[in-house]
């Protein structure tokens, strides 16, 4: 069955340090992959998406993710964390065999000053 695994349920960083949120996907097809962000008590906002073009994808607010087929990974990174980055992040997959987006369980990012 199709699944998305977010390897960390909680990541804590200091402001100004790099952020790495890890995600592995399971699809053997060519997937579309997304990262969504959810700030406390808010809806979901699309950060970035991969749809089989360039493997390094740039998103909003300085985030980027790299698609690595050999590792079935799509990790999210940011060079320097900001307090406003504190939120929950979801790695999401869609492939042609599926009917809808499949969500990972989420990673909560905490940023301390």
């Amino acid at each position: 069955a199709q699944s998305v695994t977010q390897l960390d349920s909680h990541v804590s960083v200091s402001e100004g340090t790099p952020v790495l949120l890890r995600c592995n996907y399971s699809s053997s097809y060519s997937p579309s992959l997304f990262w969504y962000v959810q700030h406390p008590n808010k809806g979901l906002q699309l950060l970035l998406k991969y749809t089989s073009a360039a493997t390094l994808v740039k998103g909003i607010n300085g985030f980027e993710a790299e698609f690595k087929k050999s590792e079935t990974s799509f990790h999210l990174t940011k060079p320097s964390a900001h307090m406003s980055d504190a939120a929950e992040y979801f790695c999401v997959e869609w492939n042609q065999a599926g009917t809808a987006l499949i969500f990972g369980k989420g990673t909560t990012l905490s940023v301390s000053s």
Partner: protein, 113 residues
Amino acid sequence: NAGVTQTPKFRILKIGQSMTLQCTQDMNHNYMYWYRQDPGMGLKLIYYSVGAGITDKGEVPNGYNVSRSTTEDFPLRLELAAPSQTSVYFCASSYSQGVDGYTFGSGTRLTVV
């Protein structure tokens, strides 16, 4: 351009009561979805629709019903509310089946007591 609009934003139900969560979109999207979000579990698909008059079950459909009489509206019905249905519900829509991601509503927080 309102996007995806969900009402109400908050609701408290008593066990056994029924209610309808409303969802409407103004982007002329054919595809619409209902997800529920529970802490630490990501989002799970309840029902989806590929166009007016066509609906299908997702991963967790029990206790819910949907209808799609127009392209714009996709209401979710809870007939006999149970504490297990306490959750945050998100409606989403998309132009394509999923390759470009979805647009999400702001969510409905439902508590069943």
